[in-house]
Symmetry: C2
Subunit: 478 residues, 2 copies
Amino acid sequence: MAKEKKLVEAITSMDQDFTQWYTDVVKKAELIDYSSVRGCMIIKPYGYAIWELIQKQLDQRFKDTGHENVYMPMFIPESLLQKEKDHVEGFAPEVAWVTHGGSDKLTERLCVRPTSETLFCDHYANIIQSYRDLPKLYNQWCSVVRWEKTTRPFLRSLEFLWQEGHTAHATAEEAEEETIKMLNVYAEFCENVLAIPMVKGQKTEKEKFAGAKATYTIESLMHDGKALQSGTTHNFGDGFAKAFGIQYTDKENKLQYVHQTSWGMTTRLIGAVIMVHGDDSGLVLPPSIAPIEVIIVPIMQKKEGVLEKAAELKTALSKIARVKVDDSDKSPGWKFAEYEMKGVPVRVEIGPKDIENNQAVIVRRDTREKTIVALDQLEKEVKELLEKMQIDLLNKALTHRNEHTYGATNMDEFTKIVDETPGFIKAMWCGDEACENAIKEQTGATARCMPFEQENVGTTCVSCGEPAKSLVYWGRSY
Amino acid sequence: MAKEKKLVEAITSMDQDFTQWYTDVVKKAELIDYSSVRGCMIIKPYGYAIWELIQKQLDQRFKDTGHENVYMPMFIPESLLQKEKDHVEGFAPEVAWVTHGGSDKLTERLCVRPTSETLFCDHYANIIQSYRDLPKLYNQWCSVVRWEKTTRPFLRSLEFLWQEGHTAHATAEEAEEETIKMLNVYAEFCENVLAIPMVKGQKTEKEKFAGAKATYTIESLMHDGKALQSGTTHNFGDGFAKAFGIQYTDKENKLQYVHQTSWGMTTRLIGAVIMVHGDDSGLVLPPSIAPIEVIIVPIMQKKEGVLEKAAELKTALSKIARVKVDDSDKSPGWKFAEYEMKGVPVRVEIGPKDIENNQAVIVRRDTREKTIVALDQLEKEVKELLEKMQIDLLNKALTHRNEHTYGATNMDEFTKIVDETPGFIKAMWCGDEACENAIKEQTGATARCMPFEQENVGTTCVSCGEPAKSLVYWGRSY
């Protein structure tokens, strides 16, 4: 048990230094490693396996809602990036520029895509002619680059992996419907797969995407009370269509502009999982995205029959979950700590005494609750436990968020919450960007969203005292 | 049927102009579109769906052989690229250089990865310490960039999608074993999934990968008699390990260099499928990678019960294959031509008369053979037909390759074959690069590989007449 202690002690405690705890977990759970390229991370096998499980389940949802995957070039010619003026203003300051191919200087600079609206628009202008060509419901999985000054693994990096949906529709109504539909797909995925509850709402003008008419967002609350923007969907109206000339002839043979949307989620979701479910022993993974759902640890594995029994249990449990036996020569204590660090949801211990009694010990990662289970009940019990953990993790996160969501009716209350009990702050807003800026300056909190579920936390703007237009969720954020 | 004819006539015939035929097929089967970025293609939904099926089946083979997926940064600092001298010489002339991030000039240029040996080596130097850390069996799926002067969809483009395996081993023997093992995985995949037979062999010194000790290759023969390098595996020995300082302590506590390999296959495989199986009506897809394996075309679909029956057949057939019903208002003739162009393996026609007779018409894409099948036998018959087509396509390609593989014992014979009956040329070689160069200059043919299955086609070098060292497959290539 000495080694186990040592390994656990190697992580900074969450309450002591949350930032350091996070960095410790991403390294020690072997999710990422740093590379020689500033701000670019290496996603290691265990981290990438989590991403593959996220991708697979998200991709299925995209296909189920009629979307098709495509692949666009990673380069955008400078002239193409400049076609939509809000968009280029938003992104030009943070793109990487390719100026040479081999030893030749390029006649036009190419940027590495920070996002691909301009490429999709260029393509849509070519392939959309008639109302029969609509809607176009495309998605792509790729990496994008944004030249960030400060970076953190998964949360903010120069290069990150994501999916970007880009759709074109005949009418404004259809585009708006798509934008909301995909926000709901995102929220449902986060709740049921990642076990993270989301607040759904609209971004303010100040916070919306460069070039969008409206941006919708799902916002989650991390363990330390900071908010994380977890996914966004954008309704472009016909702004990009006008800039790129994307027109179709309608049923009356009249030329119309299309209405477009885009939406994206990224490897940042892995950061959310870490910061919502993790604890001082490391990662805690919801079973749905755990590369190993069940780790079998043989006890006194040199005794006759133990490894055979462990292998037998693996075969049985593999029917219902992703299972691994660790039969390495490390001590059981080391293994317990190792797989706790990696957030494996369920541990099964099997030793000579267990075999004698026809039983196994099962331990759940989140509560550390131990149960002794008869071997003929193991498959059923583990299955139920995995299902229960998935739900319990969501409920625990929901309770945490509810306990850390506060109402504020004046700036004194607001500031006190930000300083003393960080979390979501519900406060009324007049709709004026000046107040949004003032709040940010005073408290560091930004408008996370105007939630779809509006309530009254007073009637006047928390900042200026003028009549309020809407409720806003505020918070410091990643 | 007028429309069907028109659609088919829109493609150039293979025999008339193979290059134009290829371009017509990639466009009209909706595999790709051109983009605003020179040499970069847009992979459209149908083309990308083929790639997803390739990825899925290849990835499963990598996992079954113990490999793990990771993700490395897309940028390589110039100093890192330069660490292995043969490697930088090979790739520096064809990389894209990033010189600016936002408005700031970078202190060191970054190239967009043309391949990621240097990044993996840098990472391995950090994470490999002991023999316990070996082997490392990593793979990544990503896009890479090579600044090619002339480009063709799938076959040669500035950016392409691929997988790159990178492994590190304790001994030279293990590295060699891995290199051959993955070549065999590639060949088995190409034969059983893509239905393309492969010649396995070793590249000559001249043709091997920049920085490798040995490169192995699988080579296939296209319909026009040109060769296509379809996948390569490289044994690096300890060359990269020495350049990057990748050392481990062995069981005797002595410092040793690791031995490394890399191996890759790309979206070029889709080009191979087109050029091996396609015909004058368009694409012909092996069922294993067909996004739609069965297209159901309702005949006289406005008649009562036809669409209902088509939907019923779809439900039944979906148990055994990827199935689509085209119930659009296009004519059956248009639909026949459309799905022939897209290479859908099996067409099922169902109309009022068929329903009356409790039957359907099934047509296979490759031979166009029509069969009338009783509805209660449809599922079984279609399943068998798909399996049969998969095998028949491989056999047909094998026959074509055998009929276009020739022996040459002197340069007259060699030149005559290249000019008049293009295909693989088996000819002996002395091992001297001067002869390899002379042959290329005289005929345009390059050494495709020294096949593992050596034979004697004479005893002297086809070029210089000196004693031969090995049999070589020669050919003009893509």
